[in-house]
Amino acid sequence: VATTGFREGHVEVGGVRIPYADAGQGAPLVHLHGAGGLRLTRAHELLTRQFRVLAFELPEGPAPEHTLALALATLGLDTFNLLGTSIAGAAALALALQEPRRVRALVLESPAAIRPDGRGADLERRLAGLATPTLVLFGTVDDVVPPAMGRVYKALMANCHLVFVYAAGHAIAADRPEAFAEVVADFLERHEAFVISRAQTVIHP
């Protein structure tokens, strides 16, 4: 994990050692990586401009959310933003369901938590009860999880926004880091109000 400015650390919970990378200042943003393992991208760097980004190795086992909840408490992170990528979408949702007060906002990057073949049905049934502000991102050329799955989260969750990232595949943050970081940061800062543009178009005022 050699990306500028990131420090490597680890936290121990019940004998389990969880490595993480940490950089930036501001509200904490906890990232749970996808199947490729913990890899830092330019998107992480961009997000450190506004957030303290903590990218964790996903603990092994059937319910990583329990271990993570304890690990984050150990690090003194009472409340935090949570970003789950691909297969970690399920862990991120489970953590948000387990700790609704602590997770301020949730971002799911190409989540694989609910699959077209019916996998994830248990989690799917619990989503209606989750009020956490949630942003679901899918790349328009995702060839791992069909982007049309985005509408399932949007339809089920009370406070969910769905955004397609054009020309990005399954690894949105790697394919379009600036676009990814911009929409994630705006959402984490403003939650549902991010639908109202603050972009300035005036030139030579």
């Binding site: 328009t140 985005g150 769905l162 397609f164 054009y166 676009a179 543009s197």
Partner: protein
């Protein structure tokens, strides 16, 4: 084949116009304009009566040559006056547009016209770069992204945001959606590799225009290859060929009409502007580079008596593979209506009934 009449409004200038493009709007005559739009409806009633399948409209700006800067307005006006014919909107220039607005307007129009809409989406001709300050180097990318957004806006059931390269929206949820589901028959218009690939990827039709059969066939062949790569085969109706046709009673008369055609576009750009367009605008036919058309006249690929033209249509069907011909029966920019009406009648009575089964 199906046959489409390309309607360009036929503005007849009361006085000679400056030949530079853009044409100063001060030289526009409002009464002549009103007359042109009135006459358009009368003409199209006749087109419908003759049995044309479609009437098509296009988007062009800043000159009287084709008086439809907003093809959606033209299409809506035509749809309100004609009850049977399919309205082919070929099409909104996507890189100029707000794609969400285009999706909304086309959905409205499809619904208001009771599902009589056909849509072509395109990058636009090289001269349109001056319109709305479109950077020719960005036009291709904006077109692809805009087309994809239009398709998504038509079909996505939940409100969604779009984090594009050229377009960004946080919330899109259009009402109405199109009457034709999931959306009206849609074509990606153009001969370029990118356009053919987009059409193949999204199961859209393909539209080519004006070039000789063999050249257009390069594009349609490439399109069919790409469709096969994506696991499907387009129907003949999914390939449109827009062309100029000069039909007359005899081959000699038709050849005489051809000889009388100008070899320059009626309104031309200043040399420096043309050079800038030539430098910044890159085009291709199925991947083979070609120069953008900026001031030259467009070729006429059907010329002759009804018998000759029927044979040319047969050959075109074989070579280009187009199941829809979108025709100008008289130079699109000409306001001289008598020859157009003569050609229309001749075509409608002596050609149209004979090419249906081709």
């Amino acid at each position: 084949v199906k046959v489409s009449f390309f309607e360009t409004v036929r503005y007849r200038a009361p006085e000679a116009l400056p030949s530079e493009w853009p044409v100063p709007s001060g030289s526009y005559d409002p009464d002549a304009g009103a007359q042109a739009y009135r006459a358009m409806i009368e003409r199209l009633e006749y087109v419908e009566e003759l049995g044309f399948d479609w009437v098509s409209v296009s988007e062009h700006h800043y000159s009287p040559r084709i008086l439809t800067p907003s093809p959606i307005v033209s299409a809506a006006f035509i749809a309100a006056h004609l009850k049977r014919i399919t309205i082919a909107l070929l099409g909104p220039i996507v890189p100029h547009s707000n794609p969400v607005r285009v999706a909304e307007e086309l959905a409205m129009l499809d619904t208001m016209a009771q599902g009589r809409l056909v849509v072509g989406l395109l990058r636009g001709t090289a001269n349109e770069a001056m319109t709305y300050d479109l950077n020719p180097q960005e036009a291709r990318e904006r077109t692809d992204e805009g087309m994809e957004l239009i398709l998504r806006a038509w079909t996505e059931p939940q409100p969604f945001g779009w984090q594009g390269r050229h377009f960004q929206y946080r919330t899109i949820s259009i009402w109405p959606r199109p009457l034709q589901q999931p959306h009206p028959p849609t074509f990606a218009l153009g001969t370029s590799r990118e356009s053919c690939e987009f059409a193949a990827r999204h199961h859209l039709g393909c539209g080519v225009s004006y070039g000789p059969f063999e050249v257009m066939a390069k594009a349609t062949r490439y399109y069919r290859e790409q469709c096969a790569r994506h696991g499907w085969q387009p129907s003949p109706e999914q390939i449109v060929y827009r062309a100029n046709m000069l039909v007359a009673e005899t081959d000699e008369d038709a050849q005489a009409l051809l000889r009388a055609q100008p070899n320059q576009a009626p309104f031309t750009m200043r040399a420096g502007v043309r050079d800038a367009v030539m430098t910044l605008d890159s085009r291709n036919i199925a991947g083979e580079a070609r120069a953008p058309v900026v001031s030259g006249a467009l070729p006429t690929t059907f010329v002759g008596s009804p018998d000759t033209v029927v044979e040319q249509v047969r050959r075109c069907r074989e070579v280009v593979g187009a199941g829809v011909l979108d025709l100008s029966l008289h130079p699109p920019g000409s306001g001289d209506l008598d020859p157009l009406m003569r050609a229309l009648e001749l075509f409608g009575k002596k050609v149209l009934p004979r090419i249906r089964e081709i």
